[in-house]
Symmetry: C2
Subunit: 189 residues, 2 copies
DNA sequence: ACCTGAACACCGTTCAAGT
DNA sequence: ACCTGAACACCGTTCAAGT
């Protein structure tokens, strides 16, 4: 499964994506970068969108893998996981945008599955933090969504330059995530 | 200034955007919807991106206008402003995505200006809320960024279907914004 | 200054054919 | 099953010319 050629095409697409966004992922270039003709990709993906969806699913699963590895190493902290997430988003802006972009419904079952896996991971970490009294009680899913929203939004704002990067108000996405955990942890601001 | 034809083209672009996203904003259609030829837009905008940038700036300024109108009517509440923002985002997903999308640096001075106006508006509202003890003390800009992040991220997650829409964990973006204000207001969760 | 119609360039996609 | 080369369709953009 997942033939080497298929993986090769996805890897080529990832490189092109990082360099110039989705528009730069031209099937002709994906092909030539993989040593095949410009339309060989159609034997592995039904369309460009299908290729991008496969890439997005791969990326999100990689994020999950990293988080799980960290969790097994003994630090299943929700905060740690989210900080790693925003770090990834800033390191690979285009992949982050792709993963969180719009997907025509049904376009990718894999991506929906990866997203669910990712949410589940955070959910479990939030539950653990609640037991350790590091997060307030209340529906873990709701708190997960709040945390994920901040991480997502902060990364997006930073990437579009809408986060003041200078002066005393300066805040990196990681700072904002940390702020949220701080407010949630110690009441009283 | 802002000739009627120019506005007409932007309006046509907005309609097309709402219907099918940026790819659906085809200059040929923008032209024909405005009763001019397919390349008449080039007399008003240097490129498709320039047209989209003008549209984005118009939209964000409209959001600011609405918020200012509300503020003058006597409710300059940070929370109210943000709830209106997410409502707008869900009502016009494509405009929201466009505004918060990536802009090649220097592509639009107008859009950067509108973004700054928007942030300033929120900043002032946050300061007011702090004085009323409805928000914790601390750098207003930093708190503004946190609030904006949640609104942004929650709207994005909802639009990409990554927000659990069922079960007890169900949360609308407006719920998450309200949650944040609640956590910030009363310590203790 | 604003507009038109023809043309070009590029890229996603399809097709017919090869092994 | 996987690949190739030619061709088509579409759309952003440019050009020469009109008023």
């Amino acid at each position: 499964m997942s033939s080497s050629r298929r993986d090769q095409l996805i890897a080529a697409a990832a490189d092109l994506l990082d360099e110039g966004g989705p528009d730069a992922v031209q099937l002709r270039k994906v092909g030539s970068a993989s040593g095949v003709s410009h339309n060989a990709p159609y034997k592995h993906f039904s369309s460009k969108e299908d290729l991008l969806a496969a890439l997005a699913a791969r990326e999100l699963n990689a994020v999950c893998d990293a988080a799980e590895r960290k969790a097994r190493a003994g630090s299943p902290l929700a905060k740690t996981i989210m900080l790693a997430y925003v770090r990834w988003a800033l390191m690979y802006p285009e992949r982050f945008r792709l993963v969180s972009g719009r997907w025509t419904k049904g376009a990718s079952e894999d991506i929906a599955q990866a997203a669910q896996r990712w949410q589940k991971l955070l959910y479990v970490a939030v539950e653990a933090a609640q037991k350790a009294d590091e997060l307030p009680q209340g529906d873990p899913e709701r708190i997960s969504s709040l945390i994920l929203s901040v991480a997502h939004g902060a990364a997006n704002l930073a990437l579009s330059g809408h986060l003041s990067a200078k002066g005393k108000g300066k805040a990196e996405p990681s700072d904002l995530v940390a702020d949220l955990f701080s407010y949630l942890a110690h009441p009283g601001g």
